[in-house]
């Protein structure tokens, strides 16, 4: 485990797998998009709108997976003080917010033809809306300190608190939804269940894979960037220290 805590070694491994991950992402998108958009048949219930599912479900899946990654990274950072774990959480967070936003927007655009309205207080949409706020809170807190290292720890604690709350929030919202709108149709779930059919599962899984590989590839790039930012900060600080020492010597 501690082998990965060393930034240089970790990045060596990450850089070694990067071409494979990035290549796989490209290949899966090249295969998946034509299947999703052209060759796969329309669903017998939802018609052509089922094509939205092939990007909505992967976005939603990544929205959750990124939060899981962040929670794991935050825990590892707080317990073992792994700097890389923290950088991973930090690098992943904006992507998680984007995926959550995309899941919400595609859900709304799917809801309009299905339910005749852009927004229903469906349990899943509502949960994702709250998840989106959790992401915004994490990003805002990490950015709110003058000393970025302090923001790191605060954001990590917040991330863990949020990860304990996500199941509670989902349970509450689901219960609330059944209480108030027992007749509403569930988004996504029925689409998948009512037609467990190869013609739908194939594009879905290829797109899930493509999105996941895209996430890992961009995550590695963002980690590189975060590490460089840390190095630049250190270099600048040491310049400031030298400047101070020169000033002292001149006095």
């Amino acid at each position: 485990m501690h082998r990965f805590a060393n930034p240089t070694q970790f990045m060596r491994i990450a850089n070694a797998i990067f071409p494979w991950v990035a290549g796989l992402a490209v290949i899966l998108f090249v295969i998946g998009l034509p299947i999703a958009l052209v060759t796969s048949p329309p669903d017998y219930q939802q018609g052509e709108t089922v094509r939205i599912m092939y990007i909505h479900v992967p976005s939603a899946w990544l929205a959750l997976m990124v939060y899981g990654t962040m929670a794991g990274g935050s825990a590892a950072f707080l317990i073992w003080r792994h700097p890389i774990a923290n950088l991973t959480a930090k690098a992943a967070a904006p992507m998680g917010a984007v995926f959550t936003g995309l899941a919400l927007v595609t859900g709304m655009l799917w809801g309009q033809p299905m339910w005749g309205t852009f927004w229903v207080w469906d349990a899943r949409l509502t949960s994702f809306l709250i998840l989106f706020f959790l992401y915004l809170g994490y990003l805002a807190l990490g950015d709110a300190f003058e000393d970025s290292e302090r923001g790191d720890k605060a954001a990590a604690i917040l991330c863990l608190v949020g990860s304990i709350n996500i199941p509670i929030i989902h349970f509450s919202v689901t219960w609330w939804n059944t209480l108030h709108q027992p007749s509403i149709m569930k988004l996504g779930g029925d689409g998948v269940k009512s037609s467990v059919d190869g013609s739908i599962l194939l594009p879905l899984f290829v797109m899930l894979g493509a999105f996941t590989m895209y996430f890992f590839a961009v995550l590695i790039l963002r980690l590189r960037s975060e590490l460089l930012a840390a190095k630049i900060r250190n270099a600048r600080l040491s310049q400031a220290a030298v400047g101070d020492a020169l000033g002292q010597a001149a006095e």
Partner: protein, 219 residues
């Protein structure tokens, strides 16, 4: 005296000497609730329909306004350093401070709530559930809020940030808090025990999370 009672007694004494702080929170609760009839119109049946939700939402906002009192002053005047160095378990200190916060804001909100419910024409069978729901829900509000308040110590724009961090986490309490009241009115009772469950869960986790946040704030 134990650590808990020592810290609790001091915070209560401070709150008593600066009672204007608590009164401001109650005043906010009243004013914010009274705004709703102006925004929605004075029809009694509409107000009665939204009364449980309005009381809960304004109670949450009022509690939110008072959260920075828990740690900010102690952080700024050096008391927090000394509390961390007291040698006492920090979660116990945190729990004492949260208890003081609940006694000085949560309890006044509970006492005040029936008065405001009257102005919103809450049906008679809703009053006891309203107070019970607030009694079981507000401890969670104080506990979760304390974690947020500890996290934003030393930030720019702490107050606005605090609301962004904490309000999403209050949604479960809001859902079940209003459901308990509405259930009593519509005759489909909802158990308030789930609110007690949230409170117990918050009680077991929040003091530790807040302690971790306080330690990193003092680093």
């Amino acid at each position: 005296m134990s650590v808990f009672t020592t810290v609790l007694a001091r915070d209560l004494r401070l709150a008593l000497r600066q009672s204007a702080d608590s009164l401001t929170v109650i005043a906010f609760f009243a004013i914010a609730t009274v705004l709703f009839p102006f925004g929605i119109g004075p029809e009694a049946n509409i107000l009665a329909r939204i009364a449980p939700g309005v009381v809960w939402v304004t109670a949450l906002l009022a509690a939110l306004l008072s959260l920075d009192r828990i740690f900010t002053v102690d952080f700024e005047d050096g008391t927090l350093d000394q509390l961390i160095l007291s040698g006492a378990p920090l979660p116990v200190v945190v729990l004492a401070k949260v208890t003081a916060h609940w006694l000085t804001t949560g309890v006044p909100l509970i006492i005040m709530s029936p008065v405001l419910a009257v102005t919103l024409h809450l049906p008679a069978e809703g009053y006891v559930p309203l107070m019970l729901a607030l009694l079981l829900g507000t401890p969670t509000v104080s506990l979760v809020g304390a974690v947020g308040a500890a996290l934003v110590l030393g930030t720019r724009r702490g107050g606005v940030l605090l609301s962004l961090l904490v309000l999403p986490l209050y949604i479960p309490v809001l859902i079940f808090g209003t459901a308990v009241i509405e259930g009593a009115i519509t005759g489909v009772p909802v158990t308030p025990l789930i609110l007690a469950g949230f409170a117990i869960l918050a009680l077991t986790l929040c003091p530790w999370a807040a302690s971790a946040a306080l330690r990193q704030a003092a680093e």
